[in-house]
Symmetry: C2
Subunit: 210 residues, 2 copies
Amino acid sequence: MPKVTEGHRESRRQAILDAAQEVFLGKGYQLATVDDIATKGGFSVGALYRYFPTKSDIMLTLLEERLSRGPELLRRLTSDRESPWESLTRCVDIFVSALRVRHPSTGRLLLVAWGETLQDGTVRQGLQRRFGGLIEYLASLVRQGVETGDFRRDADATAVAAILVSLADGVTLYWSVGTPDVYLHDMRTAALQMLKAYLKPPAAGEEPST
Amino acid sequence: MPKVTEGHRESRRQAILDAAQEVFLGKGYQLATVDDIATKGGFSVGALYRYFPTKSDIMLTLLEERLSRGPELLRRLTSDRESPWESLTRCVDIFVSALRVRHPSTGRLLLVAWGETLQDGTVRQGLQRRFGGLIEYLASLVRQGVETGDFRRDADATAVAAILVSLADGVTLYWSVGTPDVYLHDMRTAALQMLKAYLKPPAAGEEPST
DNA sequence: GTGTAAAATGAGTGAACGCTCACTTTTTAT
DNA sequence: ATAAAAAGTGAGCGTTCACTCATTTTACAC
């Protein structure tokens, strides 16, 4: 069996995905050529087609492997032992720090994906699933807070979650395209204040904070 | 002078823009061919090139003529005689109704534009100008409310405005791609509640509302 | 080493696309 | 009617691109 080791095959696959992502981020999906990808990665076009049947499949794989992890990520990084409000705050902060330092390129990948939704139903479904997954998790946090009495009783969990996800993606778009850094910090602060003012109105005898 | 009337020239130009917009909305910019546009509009490719020097110019004109009018539109539809809070509410409602009934396709056009920002600096600048214009107007409304004492004194006008615009564009994206209609109404309600809770905290002797 | 099968190569292929231009049709002034 | 000039046509040109395949290189078992 002269086959190469499984580990080598996987690392090659990732190298192709890395090269493709870099090229897609630079020129968008449609304008990126498979030659671009091969050149960037230092391998031949033929090698690429040994791992992916079409150019479009590379994009779909990128979406699946590097953009659909949002919900799990949030779930893993927030603990059940903190209050719903702390979890929500942490979600916002995870988003902001991911945008700024951790995975700044993921925002641009999302932008490329959005552009493709018009033409490719599979991409569209992928983004819809992602939307649904994120909403579901954030809404569960809100509902939890309502049940424990931390949040106002008539809070619309789904609507709040949808607002947060839409806001996050809107910010991501403008960020990918050059929103000033200073906005991001102030938006984080103001968004959390708005969220708190809505979810925890200072009606009862809560600490007034600021 | 055998030239045709100016009115006819302009209506022809608009016909080309209409056809192009429809095609762009259907397949995105890159995948739309000038033949598609010509066929859709019922004229020849050559005629098209008599009005626009390149395919890219058609897209840029669409952006300029049909997507950059946001700030003026809001300014015109909100009156100086209503309170800042009423103006803000009206802005949100104008956005929602534009999305749902008035210009539902504009959202998709925005989506196409976003997809092109990676490759085309001119498109990117156009969207940034639009962002800046919208923020400027919404922030002025908030500042006005702060000055008249309607809103909390430490409200961050720019951040609130940036949040509203980002949220609107995020919603537009998901809407273009098939967000359920019911979300939109509930999001409107919840967003206004959050905004009000932040801007007009029931600290002083305001009417409790809700 | 040597054999061998998988991995990799890259020039080539056919199709598609943006744009042109020699030509035809339409419009208006006289 | 006639002429002149602008408007409109669409086959064709040159280029680009996703993908193929005959051939070469590589990695491993023995």
